[in-house]
Symmetry: C3
Subunit: 138 residues, 3 copies
């Protein structure tokens, strides 16, 4: 059985958005008891991560780390059409995930206690992001 759910997620500019409940709902509505839920983001300047979900400082530290690693306005970059955060957004995306496959057991996502699924907006401006959850199950 294959079930697809398209999601439209607004972002408030750079930062993470918890999408765990959206993916849970897609799995619940599929009716699958066992299988795999694959999350896909249809962009190259926003990405997906699995991250600690208890202390928001973790995601702030993550943002700080990646900001230091891939600085906005880096002189290295030629592709600056959309501003100083354009090329860094592409690099951040490539260093993280565009698709993530999560197992389903007894009708639920197999997430560890501290695991959350996040959309990571890499552009400074708010965007509307499109995602697809594909459930393959029985």
């Amino acid at each position: 059985m294959i079930h697809r759910r398209d999601l439209t997620i607004p972002t408030h500019g750079r930062g993470t958005v918890d999408i765990t409940s959206h993916v849970r709902e897609a799995v619940a509505s599929s009716g699958a008891r066992e299988g795999l839920a694959t999350v896909w983001i249809q962009h190259t300047s926003a990405s997906l991560i699995v991250c600690e979900n208890a202390d928001p400082t973790v995601r702030r530290d993550l943002e700080a780390f990646v900001h230091r690693l891939v600085p906005d306005g880096d002189k290295l970059f030629e592709h600056t059409d959309e501003g100083p955060d354009d090329m860094p957004a592409h690099v951040r995306t490539v260093l993280t995930q565009t698709s993530i496959g999560i197992p389903i057991a007894a009708g639920r996502l197999v997430l560890g206690t501290w695991q959350g699924l996040y959309l990571w907006e890499h552009r400074r401006a708010p965007h509307t992001r499109r995602l697809t959850v594909t459930v393959i199950g029985e």
Copy 2:
């Protein structure tokens, strides 16, 4: 329904090769209308990325960034059997993807407007790379 397509892709040394059309063909020949196409690369010194497909400068900047992050001939590395680009190729592979799962809807890959699928050759010399596309669908 499960459909497997093996691909053999020649590279011209370090740089990206657009494999989107190959994956599209694998999906078309599978006949799947809904499902998931998972691309896998059978190597540890070449990898897969989803990247902006309109401006080639994006991929040149990406190459420049990773070259600065993981320099060839870095004194840190002991594993230099195959030259100064040997260990950097393994690091670049680990920081990017070996498998990527893309949804299929209405018989087509669900790709955003600017998304392309790329094989990223990390060795300086040309290589022949083997990939596998697995379509699970109905």
Copy 3:
């Protein structure tokens, strides 16, 4: 056909653990001839990689590289509840993989000659890590 195998893997603190044989066994016991095996790790301070499996120096160099990139005790980090390796473990996880999908052909994982599957423990202390292998096949 969907087959799930839960794995419990002890680690000896920071470093890699070869899990290839565990995933092979999960595939063998599923009876699948063609399909996909997706490995998932239920943690945010340990991750998965596909890496060269012949020379252990590769994984030592990888550890050295990531240690330089994300140093323990970095002043940048505020989230230090569990010590100087706490936040670096989360960053390392985000820069590598939480799920990996490997094709199955003729009942076997489609691995290149030098490909091994590894659990990468990012915490200094030994841990017990939970993984799930989901086989979708026929």
